[in-house]
Subunit: 732 residues, 2 copies
């Protein structure tokens, strides 16, 4: 990355010594620390994600000058005006840094835009929607998985202000979905046990477990993973699911523990740093006074406001971006490149604003840090000094957070440094989410929150004795509460990240306050994104306007129903002209005495039956035994996503189309029904609580056709209902 | 308690010195340590619960000898056979000890048996049933609350092997119920905001919060409280509820923290010991090997077996006890007294079996412990020695657990000590639960499990390097997993009790294993008690046999329905002869064209309407506006438990009985309905998922009365269905 592929010795080249004494160059000290700062910044951003650790001695970038002797400007600069020459070289370094970032960013955007657009962003809203019952094929497709993994690695490497936690949740869900598809019968890759996932509920459970595993792996927080799955991801919850997610995250914890043990000697790069507890703060046992609690309440209130503002601005920016992104993949890549350049410029340019700070005498680690991730980046500062902003920007996200959370470091970061970093991260976090790169929100929010907390801690130093590191933790909690609106899971995740149980009451207090404040402005960030993406998400509670409607009001479109013994042609026609997934079956006088609702038949089951071609010449009810003889239960099982039969795949002769088929054996004879006069709100509660896909509406009075219509998820959506009743909002 | 009310000096009486040199008496050392051991054991058992700490100097019990000079045996013993004299005095001490315990136990049993029998036992099964929808008045009545609080204090003081955690959950739920009743309008004690709890759902939420607060307070584990409420207590869960319980436990945590701060100087007795973390183990950072993991898997398996066995034996013992308890309060008290005597005998007698151990040289605290709760009880041992069993028996439960969990204390307890203590606690825990005293199961299970873990840890010492204290923690986890079958909540509670995040993967592993093992034997202990108590608990899943029945099969009894405009006399008669809480309302030809189901009317609403006496002379449908004019919404709100109107309270003249009343305004016109041919399993899922109390069954074909019957909770119960279809289990 720094243009010096061959390992060289650490001795500075002779032509540098002496000639540049006492000029700004000498500040560089033992080997081009400033350049290395920039270079390691970029380098470790990538190596963190690639889990690679390169210990080879680094060649100072200023060596380049010896090769630049032909450049007049360089020579002039070197002899007469070293600042100018450095400007030139710093510019070259910036180009190298920004260029590397740009290439990584463009690659990430390209695979994302061309292979799997669904992989962009956090993925948590999509998983949330899937678990709510929105079965969009691309959300958890294998291509999405591929792009999510590599796009996330590239995106983190490119130095963006984004996290890998959200993408890891999505990755976990995708892997779970792959397992849940039960392999492929086409390639004889079906295992017997995988058939257990051939139904919606177990597959949903598996994907919930996958998302829990993602959080557990990302934060090394197994209990936090369970709670995240419960609080944020899952729409339905059962105690069996609690046990299953717990099992999953326990396995994650054991595997993680074994991997960390294996990597203890540093052979896996930065992986495993910090052990199971990423930011261990357990050494600090705070005693806090009423004054501290007041300070923390203020922190929570302002944090809630910032969190709500973050959601508001993010919504606006995403809406603006969607106009650009809709114009096609090239525009997506262009947008990503723009943001990459802005990010590089900020992270490279802003540290120049920061003052050089002398290294603390009793620093727990090497200062300035050379050749590895950690505290105290030298950047442009003289030896024995460090640049606070560079220490935050040119670092892995984990190390930056660790620096902010660290205790006993009141003086480590200047107030101005924290202000600049906070503003930069808050804004970059906002503009980065929404580009065509897998990007999580946890890290930007934690980073911004921790910086905010440290600012408040420093400002309130006179009235509060709490450590700024603890304030940083509480600030992060307030931002998380203010944007994501999770409570228990954030609380446990922070606990598992910091191992600081003594702070628990304060963290809970801050979360309560910031969530309450932010809830009065807008919805949680993931809910907001779900709405913005237009995913038909069913809320747990019915909307108030539904109380003014009855189920019969919103049943839309002409109803297509089948007879118990139906002509094949009618079925094929119905399947071809509509996209409905369920059809009511009604027995009529030749078969029954009066028109009578038999039940509901699913499109997928109809297709299997049609494919079997067990048709009859006459319209008579059969015993149904042929279905049992002819088909195994697994044939009707839910296929893997996108692998189902299609009506276009089936061909029928004209003779066959004139024949009949008995639908009774494949009809669900106990569908849930509501009376047409039932309050729509109650129907919505029923639909949501039972996780239905179809709800039959039956007439109140006899003497009419036995079925009024079918309610599906879309019929409960705000847009649909307001399309039918435009004046609803006004009249009530 | 020890018969010496006046404070005296610590100097041994002169007549003891010299004359008893070199006999067993001299082992007593500096002031009757053995007696004091026994006395402090009993004394602190009580003072722990009463939150009183008495620092006045204790008078050695052997002083009693000086007052016993008239007793020939004592004199003989003192001069010739000191052992016999000691036997005599030890026996007196036993009488004092057992007597005090007995009085406390009998008092607890008396208030429990006579005032509130529902307060006996843990209370968690009852709260669980209440939250499932079993609305038995006595479960959360104020009298139950009173007995629960004081009975629990007396029970813990009496030295029983029982915990205060379950009772605290019940106490929290009772207090929540009191708040949820919204005061009393009778005594003008209604606050306006309390009216928000005048419906079933919010009241249920409040009680869930109360149970979470109980766990949070008992274990000082706020997050554990939330998870307990989620995993064990609540039957329905919504994200709003998560947020509410979190709010509750956050307040508990902040209040607890403030109280502990206030009590830091010891002015609240033993309360606040250990700060927010009761058994802090955070200093030990274990590194464990594959061998250790194998050892822990073995520990988990055996722990699961012991846990399952505990549940099995508990069930048998409870069934045996119920025969005794059913004979009346005196028998309950007698049973309690018997168990109290057995407990006293065990805790007093068994320490004699233990060898005296020399105090460790580098003991972190005073050894032997004199005059306060803690490690190293002297009992009958010579000075500088301690009795391991006495250290466990004559201690508060908290301190006994702390001793077992303590690390770096491999040699503190002999193997024989641990075996005896384990057997005693396991058996006493079994026989204690079920007596007429509020008694929790957490403490006996944690105590037995920790002892078991220490035994395994000591046995496996040669192959595992883990500390026996950590094994004790894992042993406790395995027993909790094996009996209570909770996973996430036990995991978090243990984490919050010990602050040992590094052990989390191992704790999860142990819980997984022990729960899996024990689940293959029987149900969790609370579920088992719910079944044994005959509470109509609705399981989340439908029973398999329900798939073979339809809803119409189990509708029982003659259906009583009302017309839309019904004669007052008919309503009064129906309310008098049945206990039904809901009645279908059917419009018939004069009012509607054909018989038509209007909806469901509740008994409580009917009573309010009848009390208003807005009757009509003729059978005509009204506009319903009179109800809005005449009644406020709060009149129909759910009253506090047991405070509702009764039909017996209302008087009607014969004229009134002949009049009509329009039921339309108070009829729920959107009741949930199922068709009579719907699978009972699906009806059960609907009933349970929506938390219904009445489910109307309507006919499949028209031309029949528009309602077949009403399903209530009892119709889904195993016993009811098997009563209707005795051959069900056999035929399928």
């Amino acid at each position: 990355m720094d243009g010096h592929p061959s390992p060289r010795s650490h001795h500075p080249p002779p032509e540098r010594d002496g000639s540049f004494n006492n000029d700004i160059e000498s500040m560089d000290g033992g080997g081009g620390g400033a350049w290395r700062g920039a270079a390691t910044g970029g380098r470790y951003e990538s190596s963190e994600a690639l889990l690679r650790y390169d210990d080879e001695p680094r060649q100072p970038l200023l060596r380049k000058r010896t090769m630049n002797t032909t450049s007049q400007i360089a020579i002039v600069g070197a002899n007469i005006c070293p600042i100018e020459s450095l400007d030139y070289e710093y510019f070259t370094a910036f180009l190298a840094y920004a260029g590397c970032n740009l290439i990584l960013a463009a690659t990430a955007a390209a695979i994302c835009a061309y292979i799997a657009p669904a992989a962009a962003g956090s993925g948590i809203p999509e998983v949330k929607a899937y678990l709510n019952g929105v079965d969009a094929y691309s959300i958890l497709a294998p291509s999405t998985l591929f792009v999510k993994i590599f796009g996330s690695i590239l995106g983190v490497s490119a130095g963006f202000v984004l996290g890998k936690e959200g993408p890891m949740v999505h990755t976990g869900a995708c892997i779970a979905n792959l397992l849940g598809q039960g392999g492929s019968r086409k390639y004889h890759l079906t295992w017997n046990w995988l058939r257990y996932f051939k139904n919606d509920r177990d597959r949903r459970d598996l994907i919930t477990c996958g998302s829990a595993a993602g959080v557990a792996a990302a934060f090394r927080a197994p209990v936090g993973g369970v709670l995240f799955a419960l609080e944020e991801a899952a729409s339905w919850w059962r105690s069996a699911l609690l046990w299953r997610t717990f099992f999953t995250t326990a396995v994650v914890a054991v595997v993680l523990r074994a991997l960390i043990e294996f990597c203890r000697s540093g052979k896996c790069g930065l992986f495993g740093q910090g052990g199971l507890i990423m930011f261990d703060l357990s050494s600090t046992i705070p005693t806090y006074t009423a004054q501290d609690v007041v300070a923390i309440i203020v922190l929570g209130i302002i944090g809630g406001v910032f969190g709500g503002l973050f959601n508001f601005l993010l919504d606006r920016i995403l809406r603006a971006y969607s106009i650009i992104n809709e114009r096609g993949p090239p525009f997506k890549i262009l947008l990503t490149i723009t943001i990459s350049i802005i990010t590089s410029a900020c992270s490279y340019g802003l540290p120049w604003l920061a003052p050089c700070t002398p290294c603390p005498v009793d620093a727990p680690e090497e200062c300035p840090t050379i050749g590895r991730s950690g505290n105290f980046k030298n950047f442009q500062c003289p030896p024995g000094h460090y640049n606070g902003l560079a220490s935050l920007f040119f670092n892995t996200n984990d190390d930056a957070i660790r620096n902010l959370f660290s205790s006993g470091t009141e003086k480590e970061f200047h107030m101005s440094t924290l202000f600049v970093f906070f503003t930069a991260i808050y804004c970059l976090g906002l503009v980065t989410y929404g580009i065509a790169v897998p990007s999580g929100l946890f890290i930007p929010v934690i980073l911004a929150g921790a910086t905010y907390g440290r600012i408040v801690g420093t400002l309130l130093g006179p009235i509060s004795d709490l450590d700024p590191g603890l304030f940083a933790l509480l600030g992060a909690a307030s931002f998380l509460g203010g944007t994501m609106r999770m409570t228990v899971s954030v609380c446990v995740i922070l606990l598992e990240l910091t191992n600081d149980l003594h702070m628990l009451p304060l963290v809970m207090l801050v979360l309560l306050i910031s969530k309450t404040i932010a809830d009065s402005f807008n919805k949680g960030v993931y809910d907001q994104i779900v709405v913005m993406k237009g995913l038909p998400f069913m809320e747990a509670h019915a909307e108030p306007f539904m109380r003014h409607l009855v189920a019969g009001d919103v049943v839309s479109g002409p109803l297509i129903s089948f007879s118990g013994v139906e002509k094949v042609g009618n079925i094929v026609h119905a399947l071809r002209i509509t996209g409905h997934n369920g059809f009511p079956v009604v027995d009529e006088p030749p078969v029954s005495e009066a028109p009578e609702l038999v039940g509901l038949v699913l499109r997928s089951h109809l297709l299997v039956l049609l494919k079997g071609k067990n048709f009859m010449k006459e319209k008579v009810k059969t015993s149904g035994s042929f279905v049992l003889r002819r088909f195994g239960a697994f044939e009707f099982a839910k296929p893997g996503s996108g692998k189902g039969l299609k009506i276009e795949d089936l061909d029928f002769t004209d003779d066959e189309l004139e024949m009949y088929v008995d639908l009774h054996p494949i009809t669900n004879t106990s569908p849930y029904t509501v009376v047409e006069t039932m309050s729509l709100a109650k129907a919505a509660v029923l639909f949501r609580a039972l996780g239905l896909r179809h709800l039959l509406v039956v007439p109140k009075t006899p003497g009419r056709p036995p079925i009024v219509g079918i309610l599906t998820r879309h019929d409960f959506m705000h847009e649909h209902i307001h399309g039918l009743f435009p004046n609803l909002g006004k009249s009530h």
